[in-house]
Symmetry: C2
Subunit: 208 residues, 2 copies
């Protein structure tokens, strides 16, 4: 059963604990309503695919939480033209990490925001390049044994133990974690919506 | 009074809660022994200055914890040829943030590791470029009012609310937080020291 607390005007349409933490980190007040429907990808381009998946999630949740600002997101890892989602099992995680070690890959997060009061949708994808150090088979197995890879696109968590193997990135770090909060905040600002300004304060400042 | 628990072979010579979290994040077991002496900079080059400060911290702590691996570190922000440390007061924080908004600056962390058993010292500096979005005076004041800037070089915490204003970086994110754990881990690996392998396990594997 899904319950939606009507306190906040912003709704995160994702069950990811990392996205929740990122929105909290920058100081956004929001409720969570997880999208549960099956998403369908029609594009083979990873950028277009994640934008589409994010939009489908946001639209599903927006159907339940009308009149609110709904944020949907989806993250994939792209390496050598292949898209990596979450690993199916231990073998799949090992396979992905062997593919990623010693080179640069891309992490792409699609974001969709439905601004119902403004009958408008903001939909974009943010790309971050990530360089992974060369890893031995022992290091890969030791990392998989931590259990960290299993619920993460590309089989790693940059904000966890995998940090020992990421020597650098180019772009937004939080995009790799799962939500490009800077671009999200800035894109909505450009639309006249300040995520860091709670609705009640906004109303009060209008009255003054 | 400084007390040093003799359980671990690795000692972090820094009182920074963020450096502690980063070492814990990658799975290093260590003790903390904070350097308390006065450091002296003899170089005007920020890269040389932070290397020197890190080395002084590591040497001070190494004098207390002999026979162990001691890590020292120091972080500064460099913008337009000026070095920014921690802000003195609210006005100083506002001044630094006005200087950093709307452009790219560099965060430099110097690291020194004294490998006493090997009579060797590893000393390097890691540089990360950080791009800060344009900020209004209201956004700068609102951010300073969160209290976050006061104990941080450059008056911001990338791992806190300031994430809303950092659109991208080039290099190691954790270097901006305060410790380039990937480079630290890799540099010590090259010296034959695996930080992720506790001493007892290392001893056991030698016996096999």
């Amino acid at each position: 059963m899904r319950t939606v607390d009507n306190r906040n005007r912003i709704v995160l349409g994702s069950g990811s604990p990392r996205r929740k933490e990122l929105l909290e980190q920058i100081g956004v007040e929001f409720d969570i309503c997880r999208a549960e429907g099956e998403e369908t990808i029609t594009s083979e381009d990873p950028v277009e695919a994640v934008k589409e998946l994010a939009l489908q999630k946001a639209q599903e949740v927006s159907g339940i939480c009308s009149g609110r600002i709904v944020i949907g997101a989806d993250t994939v890892v792209a390496s050598d033209g292949r898209i990596l989602g979450k690993p199916k099992d231990r073998e799949d995680a090992l396979r992905m990490l062997r593919m990623l070690q010693g080179k640069t890959h891309q992490v792409i997060t699609g974001v969709a925001v439905i601004l119902e009061d403004k009958k408008k949708t903001v939909n974009f994808a943010e790309v971050t390049k990530v360089y992974v150090c060369p890893m031995t088979e022992e290091q890969i197995e030791r990392y998989v044994d931590t259990g960290e890879p299993m619920d993460k696109a590309g089989a790693y968590g940059i904000q966890g133990r995998f940090a020992a193997y990421v020597s650098g990135i180019e772009g937004d770090y939080n995009n790799v974690v799962g939500l490009p909060v800077a671009r999200l905040y800035q894109e909505l600002l450009a639309e006249g919506t300040d995520l860091l300004c709670p609705a009640d304060r906004r109303e009060r400042s209008k009255e003054q």
